[in-house]
Symmetry: C2
Subunit: 450 residues, 2 copies
């Protein structure tokens, strides 16, 4: 009996998700699946420390500064002040830029890498906002020139992942693609002076009313006469096998179409043509897509739930002209896309769509018939373990051993002989069937989800 003692009852910290083993098992399957698809396209993995010098992290811009977690040793001393200040990374793009600059001579270009790590953002705690979450990023970077082919490979990879993740079967996902050169060119043609601010308003179009956008663009000093043509221009969407040609023709038909617009339209056409074999509505050329971040210069991507676009993009990215200009005197254009893993996973979890039920990776529970047969049971488990995940029961009442298998969702129960000379038997819990079996040759008809 334990004495009465002082107990510190732990409670979850808002914004730091943590799953029970059954949910974690599906999270692992998701991560494995994403990794498998990334690797099937020949992308290599890198992992950077969770921690960077604050100088590296904070170089990106003020917007994220307030979300940065800096570190201090609990018992800091004089020596600590001499060292660089350290901070947790808040994305994987800043570490990638630093990594490529630092290891430049050891990398093979085009450098095709994926990265699946946690990132941290010290946001105010609120529902649906994580302060620790997984991102799954894929990027390709080259020296001086990066072929456009990769701009089409990114959405193909993402589509393959999102359309095959467990629990996503009934979700209607749409990749929305544009090219920033088109809108930049249009703004040049319409003599709009502050394109960055204008792009921010257009980026918000789906979340605001038409009047709010109109007023916003007015406040951004866009001439009243230009607002309507600009908004009409951005409204254009094209999907299906002819999307590339249609969007190109549409843009080209404008009287104010200039070279930059045409260049963007050609690139967008190339990307859409490469995606022509995807199902209807999987990818759409959508001229309202701009993405918030400044550094995109060409293709841009967003991904939404078609039945709930207001949930926001679950997977975004684009082409940038210069990855690591702050760190190295090389011109490194790239294109990449990032899956907001934790937000996506948690949404599907909350909708009750995850295939839960297994609390263990085991395919088979080997029963411990009695203490005399411990040697045989251990040996049986070792044989089966060469082909399957096997939990060896520690013993106790048989009924309790069987109950464990059921509770954990282990699909097979193996009965070693209860005494010498008897045969092994195995029970399939799904069918209830129990048969004689040889541990060396038996084959499961149904594999666990491990």
């Amino acid at each position: 009996m334990s004495e009465k003692k002082k107990i510190y009852k732990p409670s979850p910290i808002s914004g730091f998700p943590e799953w029970t083993p059954d949910v974690r098992l599906v999270e692992q399957q998701w991560l494995d699946h994403i990794r498998r698809v990334f690797e099937s396209y020949g992308y290599c993995n890198i992992e950077t420390p969770a921690i960077e010098a604050l100088d590296v992290i904070a170089a990106k811009g003020e917007d994220v500064d307030k979300e940065i977690y800096v570190l201090e040793r609990l018992q800091a001393d004089e020596n600590d002040k001499k060292e660089a200040r350290l901070a947790l990374h808040f994305d994987q793009t800043v570490p990638l830029a630093r990594y490529v600059a630092q290891h430049f001579n050891d990398l093979i270009f085009p450098f095709k890498r994926y990265q699946m790590q946690k990132v941290w953002r010290g946001e105010r705690p609120q529902a649906g906002r994580f302060r620790e979450f997984y991102q799954c990023d894929i990027d390709v970077i080259n020296v001086d020139h990066l072929p456009l082919h990769f701009d089409a490979e990114m959405p193909a990879i993402i589509w393959q992942i999102l359309s095959t993740l467990s629990g996503m079967k009934n979700e209607k996902i749409q990749l929305r693609i544009s090219n920033r050169k088109i809108l930049m060119g249009a703004m040049q043609a319409l003599e709009i002076k502050n394109p960055v601010e204008v792009m921010r308003w257009i980026d918000k179009a789906e979340k605001l009313s038409e009047k709010q956008i109109f007023d916003g663009l007015l406040s951004a000093n866009v001439e009243k006469n230009s607002i309507r043509p600009l908004l009409t221009f951005c409204e254009k969407k094209e999907t299906g096998p002819q999307a590339g040609l249609n969007i190109y023709n549409h843009i080209n038909s404008y009287s104010f179409c200039n070279d930059l617009m045409r260049e963007g339209a050609e690139e967008l056409m190339f990307v859409m043509d490469q995606l022509a074999l995807l199902p209807a509505n999987a990818a759409v050329a959508d001229l309202s897509i701009v993405r918030g971040l400044d550094y995109y210069t060409g293709t841009v991507y967003e991904t939404v739930f078609l039945d709930d676009p207001s949930y926001g993009s679950i997977c975004s990215g684009g082409r940038y002209d210069d990855l690591a200009g702050n760190y190295i005197n090389k011109h490194l254009p790239g294109v990449g896309i990032s899956i907001g893993f934790s937000r996506l996973f948690d949404r599907i979890r909350q909708k009750g769509q995850l295939p839960l039920g297994k609390h263990s990776p085991a395919d088979i529970l080997v029963v411990m018939p009695n203490e005399d047969m411990r040697g045989v049971a251990t040996e049986t488990a070792n044989i089966l373990r060469q082909r399957y995940n096997v939990e060896l029961s520690h013993g106790g009442k048989l009924k309790k051993q069987l109950a464990t298998a059921e509770k954990k969702g282990i699909p097979y129960i193996w009965f070693p002989p209860f005494e010498d000379g008897l045969p092994h038997e195995v029970k399939n819990l799904a069918t209830g069937e129990q048969t004689k079996a040889d541990p060396n040759t038996w084959e499961a008809s149904l594999r666990g989800t491990s």
Copy 2:
């Protein structure tokens, strides 16, 4: 041409290891391998946030306090002060205890879990010391009583892992096992008053001279007459199929053998008997093993390189009587073991034993013959991708495409037809052989390491 600009040259931060893609690829294989073995024994995975409330983290003891990293938001405001202080976890045992208490009603006991995450310790930078590193932990916890069987399962799992990791083939590893009850009993019998301090000295025996240990024990107020018998007692080691019985008989033969010593000897015998099938010298019953941490109460493990025991233990653990007494009013005994992954991996890397050479997970590079055949090349890559990891070349000079495959260590090059009507061909870079092939049916004779 890029202009001259100010460049911030990034440099590695001491203690935060980061690998180039070829090394990371092997690190992933190691992590996959360890996970596979853990799961083959039916252990489920959990992952806890990198961050815990400082109250939870700092409860363990003063020794680690100075290594704890606390977090602060870069632009902290008044609200931050109202929240709990946060810190990075420095091990996986404290988070496990908190996790089990917090999710107690959702877990199935005995709770068999493994955990492979990074942990952080703000040590002073020095060679061979990491401040961010992976630990791979496996533990089993039960309510009230945990069968001894698990004390034997832990070293069996660890042996299977360590003896099969790539690059470890020529390493002679030894698991050293004892049971704290034996030494605790002996100290009772010898009327030694401060057993914790004495255990600390015995734990250091391999690193200090005999005289230093002797003086240390004197300073710990051990009576001069008891020091020699105590040290002689601890010197006993037994290995081989009879190790269990031999160590039991050895302990039992002492005139001062008491019930606690006998209980420990019986438990140690049981564990050694279960390991009798391991190769000679794989496991040794070694009465000098005590482990530094206070909370072990029975079986204890260490793992050393036999040719370099001074490198210290790469894999340690033991049985504890009460995992989460601080957090929950339940008696939760457990047993666990932890692989010091990063230290082990880095040692094998530094010895040049890792099977490096692949910079990509791709099994096949599909060549892009020319722009006219882009559709065929893409389609070919998609077909092969259903069975293999495939990099599709982005084009350019054929010679350069082939050089990429060689540099990346991709074992096969696939040539789609250079014009309609010609056959596909595939080249095995290891043998130099090039043959006609059908992408739908071709089988690689040699798989990549992906």
